[in-house]
């Protein structure tokens, strides 16, 4: 019997509260008897991305819909599973299709939102410069720009999908490590100088990173995803990893409701003392 817990928290950052701006992070988690999954999305800051809160929400919804369909297919179709495990090349093709489907779903959701509420009618659009308006009229989806990180954990393997900044951490035995430690494919050299890759990029499918990792049963105890405001609050990666370890301990050792409340309260303090950014944390962990 699987005994895993999933949870997510997204809070409005201290800087956004002070400026009267909405929370531009969103997160979602779900589970069934075969797998647990979570997604965190961080809508871009900046006036030009004035619908990034909607963009992050739609990204979570699109990701959940497409990943759920993929996983259902995986568990119900034996032929699909055999094909999946047959070679790395086939798996890579499947993951690339999965990624393209998420991007397409997000773009369709964004287009529907845009058609229901054209950006030209939005007062935040009229406040932009002419150059920014022209840019957005050419590519409406930029107003909705968001990052995307998803984790799917099954007995024996996990999958991380990542576009843009933010972090995925794995609890392996008693040690927390960055997912990149064992999965070089997740590293992205473009993420520096405050730049990030995004769902609104025309090259999003090529900019997505993913890692599929097999693990010996019981060796992986959980996955935590965070948007970049969390690690940016820390002076060192060690401090950040200690915090992640503490979250795991809380969710594994306490009841979920208490763990959730305690973490949510702390995240407000963390944003105020740290990055000032909106913060999201998604937790998947094996319960005792």
């Amino acid at each position: 019997m699987r005994n895993w817990a999933v949870d997510t928290i997204s809070i409005q950052g201290y800087a956004h509260k002070s400026a009267g701006k909405e929370c531009q992070d969103h997160s979602v988690s779900w589970q069934n008897k075969y797998y647990d999954a979570a997604i965190v999305c961080d809508g871009h800051g900046g006036d030009k991305y004035f619908r990034s809160d909607a963009g992050a929400y739609l990204a979570c919804e699109a990701g959940k819909k497409i990943i759920s369909a993929f996983m259902e297919h995986f568990w119900k179709d034996k032929g699909f599973r055999i094909k999946f495990f047959s070679s790395e090349k086939v798996r890579d093709e499947m993951f690339e299709q999965l990624i393209k489907a998420i991007i397409q779903e997000w773009n369709q959701s964004v287009a529907a939102d845009f058609n229901a509420w054209p950006i030209e009618a939005d007062p935040r659009f009229t406040a932009l410069t002419d150059a920014e308006k022209t840019d957005l009229q050419r590519e409406n989806s930029k107003a909705y720009g968001s990052t995307f990180i998803a984790a799917i954990l099954c007995e024996g393997f996990y999958l991380i999908l990542k576009l843009g900044d933010g972090n995925a951490c794995i609890l392996r035995d008693q040690t927390v490590e960055f997912a990149e430690k064992r999965s070089e494919t997740l590293r992205d050299t473009q993420l520096q100088f405050n730049l990030t890759t995004s769902l609104c990029s025309s090259m999003a499918d090529r900019e997505f990173r993913y890692a599929w990792v097999k693990y010996p049963l019981n060796s992986v105890k959980g996955i935590i995803l965070t948007t970049d405001g969390v690690i940016n609050s820390y002076t060192s990666e060690t401090g950040y990893l200690r915090f992640i370890h503490n979250i795991f301990s809380s969710y594994i050792g306490s009841d979920i409701k208490s763990a959730h409340e305690e973490l949510e309260n702390f995240l407000h303090t963390l944003s105020e003392k740290g990055s000032g950014d909106d913060l999201s944390v998604a937790v998947i962990c094996r319960r005792k």
Binding site: T235, F266, E272
Partner: protein
């Protein structure tokens, strides 16, 4: 005691390094260098006020004076408090070796030098340059190399051209645009301009984006300067009585 109490102790912010590159050639003698010396004593207070208003940022200062040689007053980027302890008034003398200064800036804007000890990384730096003359060495080659530096590319840059002899075209090429060059005709105003630009660059570089780049925001602020009215430094508790 809460579960996460220990996790707040290691919280801190990313760092912005504010680079000053000031001319102390012989032609700066008198009021000009006096105003620079005077202004630099105000800088820590301004930076501290900006940092207090930006919970997600530390601001540190790296300052060099150039003439025939380049002299870094700060052996490494310093906090405002460390900077005031390190600062000593400088004397004007020598040539205007701007090329050497740019070369040295390029060396310092590196993970091996001034941008290497913060494991959380840095915000885009600020670069504030002041000169009153025409470069006396090969500045083009140094600038060409400096422009390949990613830190410099991402930096918010402002240059002061003091007096009629300053080469505004050279300074515009360094900053990437004439909009980032401030002409100072009255040397008595140097201190106030330095304070204003320090506040604008550090505040813009450490607060959330408004959709424009930090450079565009600072350029807009520079356009608002009216030479006939006192510059208002929008930071509390700054004594502007010396204007």
């Amino acid at each position: 005691m809460g579960r996460y109490d220990e996790n707040i102790r290691e919280v801190a912010s990313r760092t912005m390094v504010l680079f000053y590159l000031f001319d102390k050639s012989g032609s700066m003698e008198g009021t000009k260098i006096g105003q620079v010396n005077y202004a630099m004593k105000d800088i820590p207070k301004i930076i501290k006020e900006v940092a207090d208003g930006a919970p997600n940022a530390n601001i540190v200062v790296a300052a060099a004076m150039f003439a025939t040689d380049v002299n870094w007053i700060t052996p490494k980027p310093l906090t405002p408090e460390e900077f005031i302890a390190q600062w000593h008034d400088v004397q004007a003398e020598g040539l205007t070796c701007l090329g050497a200064a740019l070369r040295s800036l390029n060396e310092k804007m590196s993970r091996k030098a001034f941008l290497g000890e913060n494991p959380m990384g840095y915000l885009a730096p600020g670069v504030i340059i002041l000169s009153d003359g025409v470069p006396t060495d090969n500045w083009e080659k140094s600038l060409e190399e400096l422009k390949k530096n990613n830190w410099f590319k991402s930096a918010t840059k402002v240059a002061f051209a003091v007096g009629d002899d300053a080469d505004k075209n050279v300074l515009a090429k360094i900053c990437g645009s004439g909009e980032s060059v401030v002409s100072i005709d009255d040397p008595e105003k140097i201190r106030q301009y330095i304070k204003f630009v320090t506040a604008a660059v550090s505040k813009t570089g450490t607060t959330s984006s408004t959709g424009k780049s930090a450079q565009e925001i600072v350029n807009d602020a520079l356009k608002s300067i009216d030479d006939d009215t006192p510059i208002v430094v929008d930071i509390p508790d700054i004594d502007d009585s010396q204007w």
